[in-house]
Structure formats: structure tokens, C-alpha cells
Subunit: 524 residues, 2 copies
């Protein structure tokens, strides 16, 4: 009963907002009904996710796995009847990289296999390497001197942190509460707010800016391998890149990122002056024959002669990190966006504007695929020189906050879309999606559109285990994902895209951003 009551209230609120001419968020309830039927009764989203994750494997940009995923997605989209399906080059990326073998263990004082993951773009040991471990703590550059002459032949346990693990009295997974959602909706932008609810602060990270100097120092001193990291517990390891993908990148040592407990065992033993020997056998390969990188593009062409050259876009990044199959980052986003366009095709939607799906690459390295695409078609965010295509895009919708169901949408400080989105959300109140927040959210591909003045939006999602267990970890696999959540998200995205494509006018736009030379450093 409570759900129905809430729905009624939300609906009433919306109706009063909706009928204001251009700002109306009227809903075509017949199509919503068709979308829900297809999305909940004939869902293919979990099968799509299975193919992208379990079957395909990790999808690090530049790896063979990313390329096979793009080819599979294009083939599948064609099968579903999409038009203009192709993989589209966005530019050069640098070296590709993948893991061919990964093994690490402590040999003394006793044998203990360790859970570790090679950091992306680091070389392998190319055979079994054994050596004494040494604890190296460098918080500032002056800390280096004490290790001079002590590292030759050593395996460096790099710890800048006091990683104390405590019993975990907080559940890994959670959903947003009514209170949190209300706060997002009502927030008045005078407070400091987190830009991304799902990604927690990462106090455990070493200072990235010292790493190039540390890397050079370790090489010069003759160390033979590095163990680093320490984010993640209970066997979960957070991963990232450990070297540059650039063609002229400086050589670095083989390096593995470790979970907290295993790094901590080594740290405690070494702190206590115990002899620790490690063994490591890792092989990684660099793909240097070709650095072409692609996005996957597919369309349902518009049918209104006046509007069919205008576009509504939806997308998600298909690339992942390398330690697992990137199920929630961002297999789920990719599968949901593919499912949303599949649903629209399956119900025979005849959109007035063209609907275009994009599956991006290079997101994890700085929104590279989407920025490349936007630069080619819509404009240059650094100079703010825009192309004619910029005016033709009504909106871009993105999904990249894990596998949680949609609870609403970030209006990205665009006041005029607020009531439109509220109207479009109204039919989904009983599915938990109720909130339009004016807040900006960052860190993923809608930014590439927003920064050249195209309305770009990211949905609010339940965090589930995204920040705690899956985001960039070795445990980001298919098991983490709930079918119900993905079906709900697919249906809501399909409806938003459809209504954007049918609306008489394009979505209202914010004032054009100013030229911002610093934009290049926006992310990582």
C-alpha cells in the first residue's frame, strides 16, 4: 500500500509541474507499458552481461579482450536489427597490455600463497624470480636516501601507510535511503558535497605524484620487483595502472598490487626484522603492433523528417580494468544500454529523432573514447570551437555507477530539465526511481558531452557493493550483479531515451561553458 501511496503523491506533484508548455515531462504511458513488458518479461540483459564478462573476460583498453568485446557487441547489435552499426576509431592510445600469467607467494619464513594482481602496463618477471623482501616507506622525497645501496636484488614491499584492518561492522552492500535521496533532491549547493556517492574516499592510496621518482629510484638501485597497494580486504584487491601506456614510457619494475592482509603480514614481519623471501612468476605482454582504439556505435534511425537528423545518445564505457571481468565497471552499464536500445527496437518504436548508442573505450584512462568521439563530431573542449553537430544532440545519457538499480538522475545543474525529468520518472516511482537532483556528478563519459555544452546526464544508482568490493577489483565478476536491478535500469533508460527522442523540442541547455585550459586535468 505504501508504494502506491507514494506513487500517487509523486504523480500528483509531477502533474502540477508538467503542464507548463516546453518544460512538460509528459509521459506516453502506452509506450512505457510496452517497454516494461519487454524489459521485464523478455529481458536479455543478464545474457548480454554474461557474454561481456564471463565469456569475454577483462576488457582493458588496448587489450585483445577489449577488441573481442567490441566485435561481439557490434555483431549482437546488428542481430537485434540496429542500423549503422560500426566500430569507430577515435585515435591512438599507446601500448596495449595484458596479463599472461600471475603468481606470487611468500617462501620464507613459511610458504604462503599471496593474492596479488600485476599493475597495468608493468612488465612481468618472465620466469620465477626469488628474492629477499625489504620494506620501503617513502612519504616524501627525502625518505629515499635511507634506502640507497640497500635495494640491489631485493623485492620491495612499498608501504607508505599504516593499513590497520578492523573487523567490518558495516555491510558491503547498501541501497540509498529515502533520507539520502531526499537530501540529494533538496541540497542547495552551498554545502561541500561528494560528487559521486558510489565512490568512496580512498585514504589508503599512496601519493601518486611521488611514484615516478620512486620508480626511477628503485630501478637505479637495482631492486627487482615491487609489491604495493593495500586497498581491499578478505581477498579483494583494488587494481589500477602501475606504469604509462605511452610508447616512450620509462621502464619500470614488475609490480603487483596486493590486498591489505597480505601486504600487512609482510610489513609486520619486516618491521620485526624477520627474514622474508618472496617468489613471483608473472608474464605480461605489450601489444605494440597497433594502437588504434574504437568505440562501438549503433542506431535506431529517426522517423520524423524534421527531426531525424537530430540525435539522442545513450552510452556507457565498455572497457574495464584487468583483474576481473569488469562486471559492475562497466559491464552492467554496457549491458543495460544495449538492453535499452534492444527494448526500443523490440517494441517497434518509431522515434522522431535518431537514437544512437555508443560503447566507449579508454574511459578508465580519462574518458578518452567519449572525448575522442565528441571532439571529432561535436567540438573541442579545450578551445570550445564547436562543430555543427553539437547543436543536433538533444541529450546524452550515461550509466556507470555499478549494477545498482536507478533511483533517479543527476540534472547536472540544468534547472530547466528538472521538471521534465521529474515527469519522466513518475511512472517508475514504484520501482524506486523518484529523485531528480540538480547536483553535478563527475568522473565518467557524460562529462565529455557536458564540457562542450551538450546536455549529458548520469543516473543515480544504488551503490550495492560498488565502492566496497567491486569498483576496480579482482572480484568485479558476474556474481556481483542482480538481474532485477539491471532490468529496472534498462526499462527506465529506454523510457528516458524514447521520451527525449519524441519531445517536440530538444532538451534545454545550460549556458555554454567557458574555455577552460585546465579541463585536461579534470580526471586522473
Amino acid at each position: 500500500m505504501r508504494k502506491i501511496a507514494k506513487y500517487a503523491v509523486a504523480g500528483a506533484a509531477i502533474i502540477s509541474m508538467s503542464f507548463r508548455g516546453d518544460n512538460a515531462g509528459q509521459v506516453d504511458m502506452h509506450t512505457v507499458s510496452l517497454i516494461k513488458n519487454e524489459g521485464f518479461r523478455n529481458s536479455q540483459v543478464m545474457n548480454t552481461l554474461f557474454e561481456l564478462t564471463d565469456v569475454n573476460g577483462p576488457r582493458l583498453t588496448g587489450s585483445q579482450g577489449m577488441y573481442t568485446a567490441e566485435l561481439w557487441a557490434a555483431k549482437q547489435l546488428k542481430k537485434w536489427g540496429m542500423q549503422n552499426v560500426h566500430i569507430e576509431r577515435w585515435g591512438g592510445f599507446g601500448k596495449g597490455w595484458q596479463i599472461d600469467k600471475s603468481y606470487i607467494a611468500m617462501r620464507e619464513p613459511y610458504y604462503q600463497p599471496l593474492i596479488g594482481v600485476p599493475r597495468a602496463w608493468t612488465p612481468g618477471t618472465e620466469g620465477m624470480l626469488r628474492g629477499d623482501a625489504i620494506l620501503v616507506r617513502i612519504e616524501k622525497l627525502e625518505d629515499m636516501a635511507q634506502y640507497s645501496g640497500k635495494l640491489r636484488g631485493k623485492m620491495v614491499v612499498l608501504s607508505t601507510l599504516n593499513n590497520e584492518t578492523k573487523p567490518n561492522f558495516t555491510a558491503d552492500a547498501r541501497r540509498l535511503t529515502d533520507e539520502e535521496l531526499h537530501k540529494m533532491e533538496m541540497d542547495n549547493h552551498t554545502e561541500e558535497v561528494a560528487t559521486n556517492l558510489s565512490r568512496k574516499a580512498q585514504p589508503g592510496r599512496p601519493r601518486v605524484n611521488l611514484r615516478p621518482q620512486i620508480d626511477s629510484f628503485l630501478m637505479e638501485e637495482g631492486a627487482i620487483a615491487v609489491l604495493s597497494g593495500g586497498r581491499g580486504t578478505m581477498g579483494t584487491v583494488f587494481t589500477s595502472n602501475g606504469a604509462s601506456r605511452k610508447w616512450d614510457a620509462k621502464p619500470v619494475l614488475p609490480e603487483m598490487e596486493m590486498g591489505n592482509e597480505h601486504l600487512a603480514i609482510l610489513g609486520r614481519l619486516l618491521d620485526a626484522g624477520k627474514k622474508v623471501t618472496l617468489e613471483m612468476d608473472s608474464w605480461t605482454s605489450f601489444i605494440t603492433t597497433d594502437s588504434t582504439e574504437y568505440n562501438v556505435i549503433a542506431e535506431i534511425p529517426g522517423t520524423d523528417p524534421q527531426l531525424k537528423d537530430e540525435v539522442v545518445m545513450l552510452g556507457a564505457h565498455l572497457d574495464s580494468w584487468h583483474a576481473s571481468t569488469g562486471a559492475t565497471d562497466n559491464g552492467t552499464g554496457s549491458a543495460v544500454m544495449m538492453e535499452a536500445i534492444r527494448i526500443l527496437k523490440a517494441i517497434g518504436a518509431k522515434p522522431r529523432r535518431t537514437i544512437r548508442l555508443a560503447l566507449w573505450s579508454g574511459e578508465e584512462q580519462g574518458l578518452l573514447g567519449s572525448r575522442g568521439y565528441v571532439k571529432k563530431h561535436f567540438g573541442d573542449r579545450l578551445t570550445m570551437k564547436l562543430k555543427p553537430g553539437q547543436k543536433m544532440v538533444s541529450a546524452y545519457y550515461n550509466l556507470d555507477n555499478g549494477g545498482g538499480k536507478i533511483r533517479g538522475i543527476f540534472a547536472q545543474e540544468n534547472d530547466e530539465v528538472r521538471s521534465i525529468f521529474a515527469g519522466w520518472l513518475a511512472p517508475f516511482a514504484d520501482l524506486g526511481a523518484t529523485t531528480v537532483t540538480l547536483r553535478n556528478t563527475g568522473s565518467t563519459d557524460h562529462i565529455s558531452f557536458d564540457e562542450v555544452g551538450i546536455p549529458g546526464f548520469q543516473f543515480i544508482q544504488d551503490p550495492l557493493e560498488y565502492g566496497t568490493r567491486t569498483h576496480h577489483t579482482n572480484m568485479d565478476s558476474y556474481d556481483r550483479v542482480s538481474a532485477n536491478d539491471l532490468q529496472q535500469a534498462s526499462v527506465i533508460v529506454a523510457s528516458f531515451v524514447y521520451h527525449t527522442a519524441m519531445r517536440t523540442q530538444k532538451l534545454p541547455r545550460k549556458p555554454l561553458p567557458k574555455v577552460n585550459k585546465a579541463a585536461d586535468s579534470y580526471r586522473r
Copy 2:
């Protein structure tokens, strides 16, 4: 303020119960004060735990690690000034076993290192073994036939289960609530109750009784390795034995126990008809030169000429499983019991009765060390033929439910000790220890005493992450342990042992158990 109020109430209740002659649980508050000062100000319990876990490594009974831990403990107890310190043989055990190398990965359809642990007493592959994976589901014996002729050269993914992993909305760690404790105290023994709060039901376990037949079938059919398990998520793997330690044990295949996600990836791919190849490189060794197994014994001699031949015992099992360093099962119990006797020595306690510490081996294989000791000194549980020593033991106190602080004690259906224990707990109400439950609890070494009529007790402890993350897992390491919890437990155990040693009479006993031939099957 709330704590003080509770303490006052508990104290008042106790006082009314305490002064009933022999059933009094009077407290020597001066000694309690000394114990608390030593246990909280000069604690060594975390250092003891560090030595037993990080420094020593896994302590599987029969392994070199177990032997070095026993030698270290005996040496440390001597250093602390204990008397009659020795390691005491309890009998033959079978083959010792340890892991010398452990590596497993999926090679096709893409490379993915897998988290797996060799099951105890299984052989290694003794080099890199590669093969196609095949999914084998045997729920009942008739299910075997379908695999006949299909297993030669195959690596068997043994799955009898539908292991669905769901987002975890429950925290791994928890403490007992006031309501739970109250229920334990008031429970009237007419309900079915769990005997051990910390150990959850294990629905995921394959039916143990089919495994010998399955093992023989897989060998006969020419399979080359087995992947099994599926308990544990997020990189945590639950381990156990996969073969017999007996001298004449039948040969079995190399076998690894896997976490749920990795077993599930293989299961989904094989279910979908995909080709999966695995590679495995594991080495294990059997120690067959000697099967002598020991317990560690240490004493503070009694000082009362009339009572010094009587004994109060405290103990915990020192042995662990093999996948980690057994921090909470049962490094914590061992460290706390060592700390309790150290505290008593350090404060110069002059107990009337002799205080005797025992650190057991072979607990994980069926309370073997404590049963061996009890049989040698006190009596035979199968025939109930008792030795004179049986009468001389006032009580045995055990700790083996993880690293959580003490919340009370199981009176093990001994009505007469209830008010005594309530009195002895009273000074520790503000530390969270308030509950005397009449309930029996099982599954650890106090049972070896209880079953020959000697009062044997196990303390109630907060579960923390014991059932969810640490009990028999690859993540049972030092990081899981809270120093505050261990200090509290050490102080309470020291006080219980001291008061038992000083009491005019031995603790009251339950009626002697009847001869029970079935007792041998009590555990595992």
C-alpha cells in the same frame, strides 16, 4: 552512565545469589585489580599472537609449522617462569602434510588467475598440469553414470550446488546483542537451539558421505585434478581436508578448494558449453618419518599443602587449518590462555591448587590432542573407566570461538556452577561479560573433559567475523584480531582460573555420563 547502571544491577543480583555457602562465587577484588592492571597495562597477548601466526605460519597438525609453534610456546612459557613445561606425546596421528606451492588459473577462454587452496592431505600436481575443465554434478550415486568415459585427462569442476552469490547487505562482523545474551540466559531447554552461535549453518557444503565414492570414480575414470568448494566470497575461501591422513589412505587426485565466484565462473561457462582450460601447479608434501603428536603443558604449582595436587586447567587448541595462519582458529584462544597464565605469574599469584595450561593439537581432526591427554590422565570416554586423576581436576576452561571478547560462559548444563560463575563474572560487567547460560556448547576441547565427568567450560564470545570470514579460511590472519578483545578475554580467564584455584572446594560436578559407544562419532 548506562554501563555503570547495568554493572550495579548485575552486581546486586549477584550478591543476593552469592552468599549461599558452597555455591558462593565470592570475588577477591584485590587480585582482580592486579589481574586487570597486568592484563590491560602490560599486555603481551598481541605479541604472542604475532609469534604464533605471522612469524610461525599455519599450524596444521602433523606439519612442521605445528611443531615449531609448540616449541616456541614451550620456550616462551619457560621464559615467563612456568614450571613443568614440556611437550607431551598423546599418540600417533597419521601422515603430516603441508603446501609447498599453490597456483591455479583459467587459461581459456582468457587468462584469469583463480583463488584456490589445496585441500589438506591431497597430493600436488608436481609440475604444471593443463587440461580441459568438465563440470561434474553428483547429488546422488546414480548421477555418476552419465560421466563414465568422459573424464580422462580432464580437470573436474565439482559442483553439487547452485551457488548463487547475492550482494551482501549484512555486515561480516557483529557483536552479540543484549537480547541475544538474555535469550541465552533465560532459555529453558525445550526449544531447539543452535549449540554454537558463532558457527553458521553451512548449506553450501557438498554431501560428505558421497565423496569417497566420487573420489574413487574420478580416479578410475582418469580425471587429473579436482576443483571443489564454493564456500566463501570476495576472495575468501573456506578450507578443510580433502583426503585421509591415515597411513593406508587411498590415493586421491590433486584438489583445490575455490571461492564461490571463481567456481561459479567456471560453472557458468561450462554450462553454456564453452571450452574452458585450466592450469594448476601445486606441490604438497607428506611427512611420513614420524607421526608423534604433542600437546604443550605448563604449570604454576599450587601452594596449599592440602590442595596442591588438585588441578585447575585452562587450554585452547594450537593447531589450525592450512590456508592462512589460523589467527582466530585458534591463535587467539592459544594467545589468550598463554596470556592468562602469564598474568597470574606476573602478579605473583600463589594459587592453592596447581594451575595447568594445555595447548592442544589435533583439535580440527576431532579433539584428538585433548582426548588423548584426558584418556592418558583421567579416563576413557568410551568405557568410562576413570583414573584417580579424574577426581583431582576442579575444572577445565577453554577458548575457541574466535577473537571476540568474552560475553559470559556456557555452564554446560551444570546447575550448581551457575551462581558461582555469576559471582565471578560480576566484576567484568562493565567489560561486557555478564551472561551465564546453562546451555551446552560443543565442538571443541572442553568436551573431552565433559565426557569423562570433569567440569569443562567454554566461554561465550562475540562472533565478530568468525562465521563469515575467518573460521577455516584463507583470510584467518592477524589482521582480523582486535587487541582490546583479547586483553579483555585474558583478564577474565585469568580471574576465573585464579578463583577456581583458590576456592575451598572443587567446582561441583554434574552426574557422571553414561557409557556412550556413539561418542566417537561426536565430531566429524
